[in-house]
Symmetry: D2
Subunit: 358 residues, 4 copies
């Protein structure tokens, strides 16, 4: 039951990169919510390959087809199923990786886990392509949250390789990058980040990064500690994406360096409204939302597929060997991963929100 | 269903800090495993208050009583229930926090969530005391993992406030601090960390930190991507502890700064054995274990209870006010939190391991 | 994770018949509901041994102690834990059943499942005693349902051995037996049922039966088909009781003999209120409640422990042998099982009701 | 999360009767099992409309398309997704049922539950058509069980209206009806059952029935009481089918009429092999399998759609009215439901079997 997630909302993701289709079944959605499918397609294009700096030239339509759960443009309350047909696949590029596993990929571990029966083509079920159905589910969740309680979700890139930018921890109303632009509001920093990606690309290499996502308007009092909380659910969800190596909230790992007197978020009435004076907690105390913006960071490792020759083994011959990966790869997946992280936040928030009445 | 966790093993934690008892029911354990209860008590003493640098003087026996699930010293395979009676409680210290919430605590959010019906005494169900049953479950999991597949679990402190120490990412066989000593193997760094805690204490303040936990001997091929994996389960579990603000694996957030060529763990046969040449992935590729040591980091915020006067609000009068927290508090919870993080790793590993046959 | 049940409410039952204690943790209850503990004790006494016709003379206080989740007489919304200490146990009566298993008991199957490590004393985790914590959880659920939406739960015995009585399928307002009396409203039938039990007892034998439970006042529109429904949840819960061999709703197995024209429940406005003209569906269409009384039947097999000599095997000697079971046993568990079935209905209803807002 | 079922195997069913497609995602299957797709299609044809006595003339190809989870004819171990495109739909037949609900259908309850947003065409997500994906999942489970431990699954019809036939409770090796024939081994009884269906059909009426399913070869020692058992899982699964009103095991409701001395299954060595001398328990004691054939019964109500005029209400006008249902309907769904019940048994057995190593 590995590719199933959620407590009240349940998503069940399926598909292999080079199989007939990938998709998702979303169970437990509230009924009667109008869904703007055009908006969802736009959201998915933010993740689609071939559209961002340094992304793979595999250009797919990635058009989602809804098979159930929508009627007259509204959610029915019964399972919403979506599929994306796979086209434009070059399966021969992937031959042999079960014998000489690519470093940083699941080739070797999947071989152990599935006893050589899994579909290796294009990474199979481990392909980054499988984030498309997650993003779709997240885009649905975004629209429901917006309608149910006015939540808005934002995201930006706060690190690419050696280049970093400040997060939204201190400020309540962030400056959001223009639609379609590189997702970093400081254009000078954005330029340097893009250069960092281009430099890696030129050297047949790749580079990692960190995204930060934020939700405004999420009401206080949501979440059921200890583990049915937005923090636990979002972390669980994000670590399902193979490239993710770290998840944090609010000030994240920075809290470790602080004194309590610096880190505590203090309560204050301001213009008759209760707020925290800072948002180091990222919107939660004790796992329950406090009405502040929800703020989280996710660290992505550099794309493991690089054009340079690398050390690996031949599992059949049981000897060390070299591998050079051909095919189409992103020099940096972070720009494409950002909407996925936003979608995961939406899913975690909606799942918790649905438990509100409990 | 907030305080229930697990896929194959299920733990259900209960209790309030100043109620009659706290405890846990562990369901789904394998039968016939010999349990050394003395070892478990020792493990729990590592977390018990009053024993570490800067910890609260509330000195409790914290003795666990097993009510079911053990017979003739072995697990029965039916639910194992454990309780710890609460004694030595000073409930009057906590009066009024539902009206003037303590900054950094769940007083305000719990009031929203439970509509003023939760038990506020000593933090109620949000108390750090609730990590004792988690640790107990973890200590059971440790012994089962040890017997089932020889897993050993280690932990050390890699940051206290401004003082940091290197992690175990690069090395396979770490130097482990002596039992009972401060959990940092470099004694010079350990001294400075202890000073950092003492300094915070002297100023009626507190300080945060980061722990790193490691498991050796965990077999490859374990985990069911996308979400039934050690990474997702451990993160979900750790974020249930209110002070945790970040969780990462292997090189953690550091991966974001790297090139793929630097970060990829390469496969190599060495003395006929397949290993990765580095462990930046922390023991996983694509969510499945690769046979390398499992390595994770957890960031804890500074104890929010500090002796200094702080800003807060009076929720009844709807006006800003000040609060000075009395009572017994840790200047730094990190040393006591370390065995809890180790226990959570054991639980996540065992839960995944039990799915091995699937 | 065998002894854990529920979707929104989660109960985790633990304990062995002759271990230190049995109990339950109930997670996910709404906060702020006043609980009348005296009423709960009364409910539990309906199940307690030594109080009913033909029940075992093992007389236990069976007093539940609440360890968490209640504060100032109201649910806190955090886990509610309850324990019952075991006293008055005669463990020697049970020696040897792992070698010569009792027919109709789990002695043999538990030996296979737990590889001889489970606690066999008094049936261990398989003892009927373990229904006490379920009943406790059900009694809590009853009170919450009553407060939340005015639900009342009733039960009666509709079969003991060869003696049967009509169910409540056709009538809306059933005649309820007086408190403390045998749970069959027709006193002549009740007498014959009691005689049936006494006759079995005199012959060192036992007898089975069927109970029917009903809930009035449960609102329509509750349940999430296909499987998150009262019908699926109640059946799942009841089959956890070892003696249960059948569960049905409304007209139950009788529907199989009918024509559609006889069986369909027709809708009609009566005094401006929408009702079904019959209740063959037992309160559900398509898994969703329709506002009619919820009606279910549960079949219990005769107590397998009987005083007569029976055929069995010696698993060590691998030969056929005889067994004569000593100790204290119910000639008929049905009267004591009735409140358990009522409690299970309350749990299934509350679990579904909590999903109302989703 | 209503249409999701399972503990280790997780099925997620989606689709509406007249939407683009129906289907299922099956997560958690073991890897490397060869699947005979032709056999699955044959199995599905047993349920397909237009092929059985008294079934609806809606004749659909009902051809399943596998989208993921199979590679080179074997299960990959990652989610197996299947879809069936909907064709040959007459949506206009179903207009207006949200205003004048059909008796015995979910029209009214779905209106309450989904606030008039669900897809009413052809019964939407409540259509009997949704049993096709369940059957598909069951057919996969059958093949895996066969390969893993030699399990064979059988089924027959033991009641149609007033005509009944004996079950397989007493005999170990049942006589199985020839493939394609009416599923009752006594041809005289089979004829009378078919006449019972024809008689109902002629009168524009319908008739209910009971099926019995059996699994041979399932090993002893499987299941985790109290609730992670075949009995609880099968009952939960079957009650997800709207027409099911009762589920029982072994001797079922008949146990209620018996003495313990009659009902207990006695253990005996016979030809060196341990068996029960009878199978009243249907293969389980205390929720754990005992190695005997697994035996269960399921009661189906008569098809609620009948050609006769029936009483109902006009929910808009708030007045009583009449309804006459046009369209294509089964006079008896029992023959088509039989393979679904067999499939559900296979799913419940496989789900439990996968927990064997735990």
């Amino acid at each position: 039951m590995g590719s199933t997630w959620g407590n009240r909302i349940r998503i069940s993701v399926y598909g292999e990169s080079h199989g007939p289709a990938i998709g998702v079944v979303i169970d437990g959605l509230p009924s009667g919510i109008a869904i703007d499918e055009e908006k969802i397609v736009k959201e998915m294009q933010r993740r689609a390959p071939g559209k961002q700096v340094g992304s793979t030239p595999r250009s797919e339509a990635d058009l989602p087809t809804v098979l159930s759960g929508l009627y007259n443009g509204r959610t029915t309350g019964t399972p919403l199923a979506m599929e994306i047909l796979n086209t434009n696949t070059h399966s021969s590029d992937y031959d042999g990786f079960t014998v000489t596993p690519r470093p940083g990929h699941a080739d070797y571990t999947a071989r152990l886990r599935y006893k050589m029966s899994n579909d290796p083509r294009g990474g199979g079920h481990f392909s980054g392509r499988l984030t498309a159905p997650i993003l779709f589910a997240g885009a649905i969740a975004k629209q429901i949250l917006k309608e149910k309680c006015g939540v808005e979700i934002y995201g930006h890139i706060i690190r690419i390789g050696r280049i970093s930018a400040p997060g939204w921890e201190e400020e309540e109303v962030p400056v959001i990058p223009a639609e379609g632009a590189f997702a970093q509001e400081n254009t000078a920093v954005a330029s340097r980040m893009k250069e960092e990606i281009e430099a890696a690309k030129l050297e047949n290499d790749s580079v990692g990064g960190i995204v930060e996502v934020m939700a405004t308007g999420f009401p206080g009092g949501i979440g059921s500690p200890m583990w049915d909380t937005v923090e636990s659910s979002f972390a669980q969800l994000m670590f399902g994406v193979p490239a993710v190596k770290g998840v944090s909230f609010g000030s994240g790992f920075e809290v470790a360096s602080r004194r309590g007197s610096q880190n505590n978020d203090h309560l204050a009435f301001k213009d008759g409204k209760l707020r925290m004076t800072t948002n180091h907690g990222g919107g939660f105390e004790g796992g329950i939302s406090n009405g502040m913006p929800v703020l989280a960071q996710v660290a992505f490792k550099p794309t493991p597929s690089i054009g340079m020759e690398q050390d690996t083994v031949d599992l059949d011959a049981k000897e060390n060997t070299k591998i050079q990966i051909k095919g189409r790869h992103d020099a940096c997946i972070v720009p494409r991963a950002l909407p996925v992280a936003e979608g995961c936040l939406a899913l975690a928030l909606l799942d918790a929100y649905m438990g509100k009445g409990e």
